[in-house]
């Protein structure tokens, strides 16, 4: 995209904020993560599973979150370390942080002070609940945030059983991309006005924004939204249907009455049944009966055979891919969504930012760096420090 002149500084841990940094870096920005051996990002401290050898030890999360970002050690508890931190912010265009609310104040600083010192700066402060308010000091993991936002209560079966979606920390990734959108909007604002912005982002609010339609349904009907399984309020059949394999499933939707008739034909559903439910409203009224009959038919086919058959007819049908097969399926492999980067003699595969511009996908520039890999280079390039001064600051504990 061409953000080559942009300088980005991050003091953050985990996934959500570092993905924003990584995204800007993969568009061309020079991005640095300030971190310290005194308090490691937990993505650097993941336990190695029992039996994993040195050769197998690729710290995948470091690459997914930290690719294309340079690692610089700065000890913020050291007076000179703090001064160097502020000097990097003087040079930066964007500052991204997500440490627990109040950490800057404990160092005698604040975001407000930083904004006043560097009014050109775009500051993204990301936290679980936002920087102000009764819960602002609470820490939380993503599944806690999605539970509080109401999202988890909507994941379950249509008999009302809630399963939640704890397997995937949706609240982190969603917050990452809201953060990216907010920073990009702020960059556009600065390009027109010359002024920076302090963005106080709440990850829990991001999760609630995903389900605004449920909030709207509640306002209109007065009823509390419930899990719907895989059913649609607007089309039937629409759902996930078992096929001949023990745990093989397909997702099918008939959007029109003609598609319903075509679906019945391809599945070998009795013509009388197809005609009886040829009207979409009647199918919605009798959804359970209709979808039971469709599943009786899908059970007679192998998954991939059925997908090919219905797709050839122009119908909406996709396999429910397992997590062992989805990233090697042709629907994904042609999009350059994953790329290999070297890691200590091994290879890590990084998930790319899933955006395409005129058929070009932003790519990771390099693997996540070992701790402090770029300390010397950044202190010399960004701040103009002489090499012997950098060595002294390292020896004195300011850059560790």
């Amino acid at each position: 995209v061409g953000f080559e002149k942009l300088l980005v500084v991050e003091t953050a841990v985990g996934l959500a904020a570092p993905i924003v940094t990584r995204l800007l870096a993969e568009f061309g920005a020079d991005a640095i993560k300030l971190e310290s051996s005194k308090r490691l990002d937990f993505t650097r401290t993941r336990l190695r599973p029992p039996g994993m050898s040195d050769a197998e030890f690729v710290n995948q999360p470091i690459h997914d979150m930290g690719a294309s970002t340079r690692s610089v050690c700065v000890n913020l508890k050291h007076e000179e370390g703090r001064e160097l931190f502020l000097r990097t912010l003087d040079r930066a265009d964007v500052y991204i942080e997500n440490y627990a609310t109040g950490w800057l104040e404990r160092l005698g600083l604040s975001l407000k002070q930083i904004q006043e010192r560097s009014p050109h700066l775009i500051i993204l402060s990301q936290s679980a609940f936002g920087g102000e308010g009764p819960d602002s000091n609470r820490r939380a993991y993503a599944p806690i945030m999605t539970a509080l936002a109401g999202l988890d209560s909507l994941v379950g079966y249509d008999d009302g059983r809630i399963t939640t979606q704890t397997a995937l920390a949706t609240g982190d990734v969603v917050a990452a991309y809201y953060g990216a959108a907010l920073v990009l909007a702020a960059l556009d604002h600065r390009a027109r006005t010359g002024k920076g912005v302090l963005i106080d982002q709440s990850q829990t609010e991001c999760s609630a924004a995903l389900i605004g339609v449920a909030f709207a349904e509640h306002a209109l009907s007065g009823a509390a939204p419930q899990p719907r399984g895989n059913t649609s309020p607007s089309e039937s059949p629409s759902g996930v249907f078992h096929t001949a394999g023990a745990d093989d499933w397909v997702a099918i939707t008939a959007w029109t009455d003609q598609e319903w008739l075509d679906l019945c034909h391809e599945l070998g559903v009795a013509p009388d049944f197809a005609r009886r439910f040829s009207d979409g409203t009647v199918r919605l009224e009798q959804r359970k009966l209709v979808e039971r009959e469709i599943e009786r038919a899908t059970m007679c086919f192998r998954r991939d055979e059925l997908v090919a058959r219905l797709t050839a007819r122009g119908l909406s049908c996709a396999p429910v891919l397992t997590c062992d097969e989805f990233d090697t399926h042709p629907v994904h492999t042609g999009r350059d969504l994953w790329s290999d980067v070297a890691d200590r003699g091994g290879v890590a595969q990084i998930t790319q930012i899933p955006w395409r511009f005129d058929n070009v996908v932003p790519r990771s520039r390099f693997a996540g760096e070992p701790l402090g890999h770029s300390t010397r280079a950044v202190m010399e390039d960004w701040l103009g420090l002489a090499p012997d001064k950098v060595e002294r600051l390292i020896a004195e504990g300011a850059l560790v």
């Binding site: 302090l198 509390a224 429910v320 511009f357 058929n359």
Partner: protein
């Protein structure tokens, strides 16, 4: 003051992704015009409620202009917005050719038009699949991780995945706006819901793979507790709660909250990887009854006192009463009738402009 003052956006097409994409651009300060093809109310009550709810959440504040399916492109070209947001759901055969033709027509009128195509499977290469959000979730790995092991994999309802798709459309559109400021060219932006969702899932799949945890839906528990017990929802006396402990310190806090039970002295309950992956059911038998004996309110209080990661699985109705949301004035109040207001999620951030108030 708003971030995107002066930016114009035109929206056309089907699906929640495009509607949310332009809604978020509107929230950030852009002017949005939505071209719509007139449609009839639905006969089926649930379908009509969904239609109205989508219009309320996605379209409030947009300028709505009726346009025929045939005439929308001319109308959009006349408007010449900075960004055209184009939604396709379900994916239609030949969508890629249509997109290229539409992009060319719009650029003929305004060469730096940014065209954002939001499709279930992307434009290139030819996805060879038809479908909408449900089918996109199916191929993304998302569904495989959600639901009970002996039952159907689950999707996320209420357009949540499509909204994420629209969010990515906003980010990419704004990146294209900034790039346009440098090179003067308006990009064709291609964002696929299947790939947006797969990219999200893959961030976690890589962690599961690294931890050697089989990836299979496991009901209310993350597969293999994602490497640390507990990571699951448990039934309390009057509702579900999510409980997590991601470190030894957090496990100890959890035990303290439970009154340091005697069973915790067993060395089996200090082997964190095995607890998570080999015998979580054994721990459930010890842990779940204690949770079930308390109300959600009691558990929230205790977890606050002990620094335990625990939260109620709140309904949408309960979430609206959240004191933190209220403190931050997060919900927009939208009038839906005389004296009736809908509380709808607003922008998930507060902005303070340099040299000005918030």
């Amino acid at each position: 003051m708003s971030l995107l003052e002066g930016l114009s956006v035109g929206e056309f097409g089907a699906g929640a992704a495009a509607a949310y994409c332009s809604k978020l651009l509107l929230q950030l300060g852009a002017e949005v015009t939505k071209l719509v093809v007139a449609s009839e109310p639905r006969d089926f009550a649930e379908a009509e409620l969904r239609r109205q709810a989508r219009a309320l959440y996605f379209d409030h504040g947009k300028r709505i202009v009726e346009s025929g399916e045939a005439g929308w492109l001319d109308r959009m070209a006349q408007m010449s917005p900075d960004i055209v947001v184009r939604g396709f759901e379900p994916a239609q055969a030949g969508a890629a050719e249509r997109v290229r033709a539409e992009y060319a027509a719009l650029r003929a009128r305004r060469p730096d038009t940014i065209y954002v195509a939001l499709t279930p499977f992307g434009l290139a290469p030819d996805p060879e699949l038809n479908g909408g959000s449900l089918q996109a979730q199916a191929v993304s790995g998302w569904m495989w991780m959600n639901g009970e092991p002996a039952e159907a994999p689950l999707s996320v309802a209420y357009d949540a995945c499509a909204v994420q798709h629209g969010l990515h459309g906003v980010g990419a559109a704004l990146a294209a706006v900034l790039a346009r400021g440098q090179h003067g060219h308006g990009d064709l932006v291609d964002i696929s819901e299947a790939h947006v969702t797969a990219a999200m899932v893959r961030n976690y799949v890589s962690v599961y793979r690294w931890n050697r945890i089989p990836m299979q839906r496991a009901g209310t528990r993350a597969p293999g507790s994602s490497g640390r017990y507990p990571h699951a929802a448990f039934p309390a006396k009057d509702g579900l709660v999510i409980v997590m402990a991601r470190s030894e310190i957090e496990w100890d806090r959890l035990l303290q909250m439970m009154g340091d039970p005697e069973w915790a002295a067993n060395p089996r309950y200090r082997d964190f990887y095995a607890m998570a992956t080999e015998y979580p059911e054994e721990l459930d038998a010890l842990f779940a009854p204690w949770i079930a004996a308390h109300t959600v309110e009691e558990l929230v209080r205790l977890s606050g006192e002990h620094g335990v990661a625990l939260a109620p699985v709140r309904s949408v109705v309960a979430a609206q009463q959240d004191v933190q949301f209220k403190h931050r004035d997060f919900f927009d109040q939208v009038e839906i009738g005389p004296g009736r207001y809908a509380s709808l999620p607003g922008l998930p951030a507060r902005l303070t402009f340099s040299g000005a108030g918030s």
